[in-house]
């Protein structure tokens, strides 16, 4: 059985779900790929937008789309270092 993901890993999974969809993902795709409940996803998306990791856009049919900002891309790139440091000091 796989262990429970921590907060930092869930953030990475949400951001990765957006990245693998060519940096324009709908909430349903993120929900499916990140494997969290819809309530949790809503909370995570709001939090990530507030912290400047992602931005919300609209497609031609006015559907919601989410894209990564530079900060979001950097988080994925530096994830292992961030995780290692945060775990060392019990910050996660």
């Amino acid at each position: 059985m796989s262990r429970k993901r921590n907060h930092l890993e869930i953030i990475r999974d949400v951001l990765l779900a957006i990245q693998i969809k060519g940096n324009q993902a709908r909430p349903t795709h993120i929900l499916y790929k990140s494997n969290i409940s819809s309530d949790m996803l809503k909370q995570y998306l709001e939090d990530l937008m507030e912290k400047g990791f992602i931005v919300e856009e609209k497609d031609k049919k006015e559907n919601k789309l989410f894209s990564l900002t530079t900060k979001g891309f950097n988080y994925i790139k530096d994830f292992e270092t961030i995780k290692g440091f945060m775990e060392s000091y019990g910050l996660e």
């Binding site: 930092l8 912290k51 400047g52 900060k71 950097n74 988080y75 530096d78 292992e80 270092t81 961030i82 995780k83 290692g84 440091f85 945060m86 775990e87 060392s88 000091y89 019990g90 910050l91």
Partner: protein, 219 residues
């Protein structure tokens, strides 16, 4: 207040040690700040502030010890018209103690996982007031530092038990060494040898903290 506690054979080495501690803690502070910028996690910010203040306190201690050692402070006192050299040394020691203690308070606050800044302000005020209102400021400073280091060490030990990795172990052991160093300093008020032992224990602690940083960066 006793102005220079080091035994004669340790003169100069302590200045070097303190500079090294300052460099390591400021590197960790910069790295923690970068983590804060990448994650917007306030606990990383508190860690960064804590290490920065501890780094500054070490720089201050190093400069003061260097000035005392080289008798430069006597010239500075003449220049700024301060009558007593002891007065100048005491001011320097106070600044070091204030910065170090506030740094530890930030680490203690980080362990609370709280966003309530009132707790932080209260801790800072109570720490500084109890230190400066005490009859033996130096002893109270090391006593408070030891108490805070017990709280911080217990937090990092619990963190290691929850997440058994080399990196978490390094930090837990490092803070235990800092705690032992601080307890040794409690005795160093009267015994010069403990002053040197305290520095050696601190040296091991900061090397472990730096090793952890290298391991994290290699990931």
């Amino acid at each position: 207040m006793q102005s220079y506690m080091a035994p004669q054979w340790f003169y100069g080495y302590d200045v070097g040690f303190e500079l090294l501690f300052a460099v390591i803690t400021i590197i960790v502070a910069i790295f923690a700040y970068r983590i804060y910028k990448a994650t917007n996690q306030n606990y990383a910010k508190y860690l960064s502030i804590a290490f920065f203040l501890i780094g500054l306190s070490n720089i201050f201690q190093s400069i003061i010890n260097f000035l005392i050692l080289t008798k430069l402070n006597e010239n500075i006192c003449g220049f700024v018209k301060i009558q007593s050299v002891a007065y100048f040394n005491t001011i320097g020691a106070y600044i070091h103690m204030i910065l170090f203690l506030i740094g530890l308070v930030y680490l203690v606050f980080m362990t609370f996982k709280s966003e309530n800044k009132t707790i932080l302000t209260l801790l800072v005020l109570v720490s500084l007031l109890s230190m400066f209102l005490s009859s033996n400021i130096l002893y109270t400073f090391y006593l408070l530092s030891s108490i805070y280091l017990i709280i911080i060490s217990l937090y990092f030990i619990r963190n290691y038990l929850k997440n058994k990795k080399t990196q978490t172990l390094l930090i837990a052991v490092a803070f235990l060494f800092l705690l032992f160093g601080s307890i040794h300093f409690l005795f160093s008020v009267n015994h010069q040898l403990f002053y040197a032992i305290g520095h050696l224990l601190e040296f091991i602690a900061y090397v472990l903290i730096f090793t952890n940083l290298i391991m994290v960066r290699k990931k």
